[in-house]
Amino acid sequence: MSKYKAVIGLEMHCELKSNSKVFSSGENSYNETPNSNVSPVDMGFPGILPVVNKKCVHDALMMSMILNCTQPEYMYFDRKNYYYPDLPKGYQISQNTEPVGINGCIQIEVNDKRIPVKIHDIHLEEDAASLDHYYATSCIDYNRAGVPLLELVTEPCLHSADEAVAFLEHMRSVYKYCGISEADTKKGQIRCDVNVSIMDEEATELGTKVEVKNINSFGNVYDAINYEIERQSKLKDAGRYNEVEQETRRFDEESGTTIHMRSKVDALDYKYFVDPNLPKYKITKEWLAEIRKEIPLLALERKDKYISELGLSNYDASVIVKEKEYAEYFEEMVNIGIDAKTASNWLTTQILGEINRENISLKEFYLTPTLIKQITDAQIKGTISSKQAKEIFLKALEEKKEPKTYISSDNAQISDKAELEKIIDEILKNSPSQIEQYKNGKTNLFDYFVGQVMKNTRGKANPVLTKELLNIKLK
């Protein structure tokens, strides 16, 4: 551990879900085939013009509100001008003058503690094309050119890799809960830049900021931050802090280190100016109010509710709110009358275990809350044992049949008194020596008789009734 205080700021780029791209009619969907989702606008052919996608502005405003940012009165877009082979127009349409959100703050949870994270701004922009580099050549794929992107910039207010990753996880959850983004790092939908500096614990002035750009997974964010803290601390320890340069570095996954890309002095002047092709338009209070109403209950809010109102443990609540579909499934179970604790147990153990094993989503899972209720109801009535419940669960899943099929048929628990008595009488008739030993004080043989009944019924005998009957008959 470094003895210095680390100061970390994050830039999180997240691709948005939408039918078409943010400024063109090109399709916005992940596609393995290069250059299959491209319109003339995305390739910057002479004479093309951008047309803003209203849904993207809507989603950007929603995120701005969730982050408790201030929204601008008018929507503007700016051009960020620079030359690069992945940038067909020679400029990226972004927001600089009036981002969709500024000066926000959001609570996140780090190791069960809540901390506020200050948001500098969030802005809507278009993604660039992607470049695939080979030995002697590079290929350009314009599928990504024009894909809507939200860039979120925090203040330098985080102090560890844990906090940074917790923030990113939190934001990923928010994006997914709102249905604004799939937020899938595997598809390159989230990319991060981190700024790291260190300072003495009691110092008031920030240290030299080093930027690590274009990190594509949270694990790499974690490693990059820790590497930078260590690298800078070592230099400081050695009295060589002046060697820490304000620069841009990249993270090298193989070596787990960061590598110099360019110095501050080489920083580009992006020559921002308002794009005249996108006339400014007023964001009405009515529209904002409408969007606010559409914000769903988010993970942390649900977690609090589950703990305080439904009596779940912190752990279980955390597991359930991890994905919106878990939470929704859970809430449906509770809504149709399954006891919250029971619902939570079923979800966190059996159900999640099953979908993880099968690698499917909860939406594809055959047993809906209503079907699960057939099992839990039978359990409450005592019709089936918990062991049977699990068996029925698996059997219903395997054969894709409603659980009640197995509860009412021969697979169900034997709770018929006369039938059980017949079985017990038969067993007792065949166990005279055991009965004698039992009557002579070897009372632990009681379990032997229960076991025999279970063996005979292949576990289907109602255990409560069995014990009751045995007690009477062995007196």
């Binding site: 390739m43 002479p46 013009l49 047309v51 082979p85 350009i140 002047d269 020559k271 005249p276």
Partner: protein, 487 residues
């Protein structure tokens, strides 16, 4: 076979009455194109394979026209008169072109412009200078040089132009024809190669106000591909031309029109302004009130620099897509950055490279406030000044330029700084997106000069109607260029 000097309405009647055919008109137009090309170098491409179309009730059906080469035309070479696009064949039509094709109009050539519209002389296109059909030693002005030249030469009744500063309205004056740019956004810019997006307008060059109205009626319309376009379906330009101007109020600006502002004025300028005042006096007799108004001279003096700043800044960014990577000839180089640099270094003419340098400088972080932002503020002041005039007046009426067309070699024209505002004031029409039309208003030494009428945004019908009435007080409607003989 000699019909292409006629008006659109005349041609339409002939086609309807089967006195001629679309094929005959095309043949004549192509033949004239080749003649004009020989003499004036007005075209980048002549479309010899142009095919006749069915004659419908649309006035434009079956009639040939020309397209400035900065409009994207599907399957037809579109160069912007630049080496950077010398082999570029687009796969989509500009919306304005598409609208005309739907009307049944027939493109027969693509006309030369100053490279990407960035010039006012008609000399910077990659195919060489365009000559004025009235006097081959003179320029057509620019940037819609080829379009103005061809319409004045009687190749067809109209050609498309684009106007960022005065690129339709000045060539029109120098060629003795009509040039009209409607309110910003009335015609979609989709497919027009951009120069300065906030100033770029599509428009048309014709030989009469009626023809201009008929063409723009077909070109205009809200376009889902251009967010700055607006719904003008309730505006019918040609139908609203009734020539009734009794009680209309116009004004001209003393600081621009008074000869006393130009102590070093040459003969041409004197005659030009004299003629202007004569035309004004004459128009008053139609019951039009025309007042002289005064505008802050400092504001007017700042205008040309404001235009340079704003247009160069936007142009630098707009033309950053010209890298030779996706389209245009590939540059040479060891890496992609070198290839882009090579493409741009060899592709652009020195004039426009100079403008890029200016534009880049202006947009630099440390210069933005001083140049770009301040220019934006002065633009607003000028627009507000004009809008204030429009509260009281239907339109502002002003002379175009400081006389007739300039000499191509340039040496014979001594440009003085004090005529700058006279040369550049049409740019205010672009600052405000105002509808603005130039019509011919006389001759100086056998060469045509023009007069301009500019009104408030969305007031196109009114502006055109005033021009229509003024046109009727003079004898320059539908004139075809006649080469003048010189000493």
């Amino acid at each position: 076979m000699n019909n292409m000097h006629k008006t659109i309405v005349e041609l339409h009647e002939m086609l309807k009455n089967k006195e001629t055919t679309s094929a005959e008109l095309i043949k004549e137009s192509l033949q004239k194109s080749h003649e004009v090309q020989e003499k004036c170098n007005a075209f980048v491409s002549i479309l010899d394979d142009a095919e006749a179309k069915e004659i419908t009730d649309n006035y434009l059906s079956g009639i040939p026209f020309g397209i400035k080469d900065n409009y994207s035309t599907k399957d037809i070479l579109s160069t912007g008169s630049s080496n950077t696009l010398k082999n570029y064949v687009p796969f989509f039509n500009a919306t304005a072109v598409e609208n005309l094709l739907k009307a049944g109009a027939i493109p027969v050539n693509k006309t030369v412009l100053d490279e990407f519209g960035m010039g006012g002389t008609g000399t910077t296109g990659h195919t060489g200078p365009v000559h004025n059909p009235w006097d081959l030693t003179r320029s057509c002005a620019g940037s819609s040089s080829g379009s103005a030249c061809a319409v004045a030469s009687g190749v067809y009744p109209y050609a498309l132009g684009s106007d960022t500063g005065d690129s339709i309205r000045k060539p029109a004056a120098y060629c003795g024809i009509v040039g009209y740019k409607p309110t910003y956004g009335m015609i979609s810019r989709y497919g027009l190669f951009p120069f300065a997006s906030s100033l770029d307008h599509c428009g048309v060059l014709t030989r009469s106000v009626m023809d201009a109205a008929l063409v723009v009626d077909c070109m205009k319309g809200q376009d889902e591909k251009d967010m700055t376009s607006w719904d003008s379906s309730n505006i019918h330009l040609a139908a609203s031309l009734d020539g009734k101007v009794q009680g209309k109020k116009l004004c001209y600006i003393k600081e621009i029109c008074d000869l006393n502002n130009y102590p070093e004025a040459n003969e041409e300028l004197k005659k030009h302004l004299e003629n202007f005042h004569k035309v004004i006096e004459n128009f008053k007799s139609q019951g039009v009130e025309i007042d002289e108004v005064s505008v802050d001279k400092n504001l007017l003096d700042a205008e040309p620099s404001v235009y340079v700043i704003l247009s160069c800044a936007e142009a630098t960014s707009n033309m950053s897509n010209l890298t030779g990577i996706i389209f245009g000839p590939r540059g040479n180089g060891k890496n992609v950055m070198e290839m882009m640099m090579d493409h741009r270094t060899h592709g652009f003419s020195p004039l426009i490279k100079r403008r890029f340098v200016i534009g880049s400088y202006i947009l630099q972080k440390e210069n933005q406030e001083r140049y770009f932002k301040n220019a934006g503020r002065v633009r607003r002041l000028l627009v507000d000044t004009w809008k204030n005039l429009f509260k009281e007046y239907d339109a502002v009426i002003l002379p175009v330029g400081s006389g007739p067309a300039k000499h191509l070699d340039g040496d014979k024209d001594v440009l003085t700084k004090d005529t700058a505002i006279l040369e550049e004031h049409l740019q205010i029409g672009n600052f405000g997106g105002f509808p603005s039309i130039t019509i011919p208003d006389g001759f100086i030494n056998g060469l045509p000069v023009g007069i301009n009428i500019t009104g408030n945004v969305y007031d196109d019908a009114n502006v055109l109607n005033i021009a229509y009435a003024l046109e009727n007080t003079m004898n320059y409607k539908n004139q075809i260029a006649k080469e003048v003989n010189h000493e």
